[in-house]
């Protein structure tokens, strides 16, 4: 059956299929101009639709950084780490290009190479641009992007535009130097280290100027923000308004990850992370004025593969050196796959646009709008990709969070199972992985997965989360709606959501 596919704006119950809000599962693309939509439609980081089908990788060629953030510790480089910006293997531009070509030959979904760290790409301009130059020669079909703190951005906008880099991510955590002084202890600026509020003011000015310059040149700009409770959480609403007004096309609010073991300022000083609920509330609040991105996985900077899936271990320098690759054939395979997937996505969009039953024109006067029959339900989905329910509960390292209501199901976020720590008082010693997972799923009433073991089944139920393995291999939105309708039929959606029980 064909389900309506819902965008981020509140959908109108009948008819009302405006070009901006209909026909795309990529809710955050609502209202984007057509040229922007085209640019992002097969970009796994920017298009919710595409991230099921296309892959990206990051190459760790940029070790140096020109600022210090309180959530980062430059000393840590451990293989167990999977925080953003943490990588284990620093590459020369030559090595990075070799690795990218090898990955692109083995994973034809590979469509984006990003440079994001471990330092700042624009604090290492020679290495970053050498990588892009060499790759563009050998695999011109691969998109290029950089993710920067913005300090050196105005100085490099021209060169970015020249290298045909059409996606830039700027991490903007504040637009007020007083807030910035609590996030950035120092920057390196014009041959000296600058501290505190003065440093934050310079950084903010460079970020905003860089954003404006990129937009003026037609380069897509995404803004990332780290949500730090009590520091910038309220302030991020203003950030969202301002960056959108200046032309950023996406705003991605990520939770702070801070634990004492990481050795970061926030970790050591006991700054807590936001809870999943707090994060969602802020994302909802920003959504009114911004295209928000809900499927960000805060991936490792050298992660390889589909978002959320890390195949980096298959492509170490040693293994890459031993590979024999026919680059032309590999590129042909990529182009063929991309054409196929794009055709499928187009067909899907077209189906969603064509109403199967013409909506009758009913005019009602002075009648209150029909109230929703059932409330919205949050569901956690275990998926390996392709947009279907296809992961075993116990193997899932993250869950997609869908919100289902009578208008349809839409992705509202993702939650990690292993590294998520909300740091509240229930975070004690000896907590099992399962207990952690259950805590990460706070607020969800259902878990959709391909299979689930007996023990987790019982514990999930005890915690008020209903496991469901009946929709294995079904498209996620259809599965979520089927479950929602069952709950509705069983009369479970008339009352408010039950108070969450502790496992």
């Amino acid at each position: 059956m064909d389900l309506p596919v819902i965008g981020n704006s509140v959908p109108k119950p009948a008819g009302g299929c405006s070009a901006g809000s209909c026909g795309s599962t990529a809710g955050q693309m609502n209202g984007l101009p057509d040229d922007v939509r085209r640019k992002v439609q097969d970009h796994p980081c920017y298009s919710e639709e595409a991230h099921h089908h296309f892959a990206r990788m990051h190459a760790a060629v940029a070790p140096a950084c020109n600022i210090q953030c309180h959530y980062c510790n430059r000393k840590y480089d451990c293989a167990n780490e999977s925080r953003p910006g943490v990588v284990s293997e620093l590459l020369t531009p030559e090595q990075a290009v070799k690795k990218t070509l090898a990955v692109a030959a083995h994973i034809p979904q590979m469509s984006v190479l990003g440079i994001a760290g471990p330092g700042d790409p624009l604090a290492n301009p020679e290495r970053t641009f050498a990588t892009f130059r060499m790759l563009a020669e050998k695999a011109p079909d691969i998109k290029l992007c950089v993710s920067t703190n913005g300090l050196a951005l105005p100085a490099h906008v021209e060169e970015l535009a020249r290298h045909n880099i059409d996606h830039v991510t700027i991490t903007i955590n504040c637009v007020d130097p007083d807030v910035g002084a609590k996030i950035y202890p120092w920057i390196f600026w014009q041959n000296r280290r600058v501290f505190g509020r003065e440093a934050a003011a310079i950084l903010i000015e460079q970020q905003q100027q860089g954003l404006e310059m990129l937009v003026a040149r037609g380069v897509l700009v995404k803004v990332n923000s780290v949500m730090i409770p009590g520091v910038n959480d309220e302030h991020l609403k203003e950030v969202s308004r301002i960056v959108k007004a200046k032309g950023a096309f996406l705003h991605n609010v990520m939770p702070l990850i801070a634990e004492a073991e990481h050795g970061t300022f926030y970790g050591v000083m006991g700054q807590r992370s936001p809870t999943p609920d707090e994060l969602k509330t802020l994302q909802d609040a920003c959504e009114g004025d911004m295209n928000m991105m809900r499927h960000c996985r805060q991936c490792r900077a050298d992660a390889v593969g589909l978002l959320g899936e890390d195949r980096g271990a298959e492509f170490t320098l040693e293994k890459v050196a031993a590979m024999e690759i026919d680059h032309e054939a590999a590129m042909a395979r990529r182009l063929e796959l991309r054409a196929k997937v794009n055709a499928e996505l187009e067909a899907k969009r077209a189906r969603a646009h064509a109403p199967t039953v013409p909506a009758p024109q009913v005019v009602t006067l002075h009648r209150p709008a029909k109230t929703a029959q059932g409330r919205a339900v949050l569901m956690a989905v275990a998926s390996k990709g392709q947009g279907v329910v296809n992961e075993h509960f116990g193997h899932a390292r993250e869950f997609l969070i869908y919100e289902a209501n009578e208008a349809g199901a839409r992705l509202v976020g993702t939650r990690k199972t292993d590294l998520y720590c909300s740091g509240d008082d229930t975070c004690g010693d000896g907590e099992s992985v399962l207990e952690k997972t259950i805590r990460a799923l706070e607020g969800c009433e259902v878990v959709l997965c391909s299979r689930i073991g007996f023990e987790p089944w019982g514990k999930l139920e005890a915690a008020g989360i209903k496991p469901n393995g009946e929709h294995a291999m079904e498209p996620i939105e259809e599965a979520a709606m089927a479950v929602w309708r069952e709950m509705l039929a069983a009369g479970k959606l008339a009352q408010p959501a039950p108070e969450r029980k502790r496992a």
Binding site: P63, A64, C65, N66, Q68, H70, N73, R74, K75, D77, L90, P118, G119, A123, N124, E126, P185, W186, F188, N191, R192, R193, A260, E261, F265, V268, M269, D429
Partner: protein, 96 residues
């Protein structure tokens, strides 16, 4: 007069391109596990910059020292973490 990089350097490359005298050598393990300053080339940036550039950008407290073995960036000066707090948290982690 010259500065020196010691073993706590994390090989982040930040200092190397800034040196006006090309005095900084990249790590070359196993022999040289971290970055080095060639003492005979280092002028502590006198005449070129108001502050020694390597020490101005280095993110690691204590990694660059002067001839008296004093760190140019002492503990707490870059991260803002009071050394007492750092020690207490490390002890707590070790005791877990």
């Amino acid at each position: 007069m010259a500065l020196e990089i010691i073993e706590s350097c994390v090989n982040c490359w930040a200092c190397q391109p800034l040196c006006p005298n090309d005095a900084i050598l990249a790590a070359a393990p196993p022999e040289y596990p971290v970055f080095r300053i060639e003492a005979e080339k280092c002028t502590e940036c006198l005449g070129d910059h108001a502050k020694p550039q390597c020490a101005e950008i280095c993110p690691i407290e204590g990694a660059i020292v002067n001839e008296l073995a004093e760190p140019l960036n002492p503990p707490g000066s870059l991260t803002g973490i009071p050394p007492i707090r750092w020690a207490a948290v490390q002890a707590e982690i070790a005791a877990r």
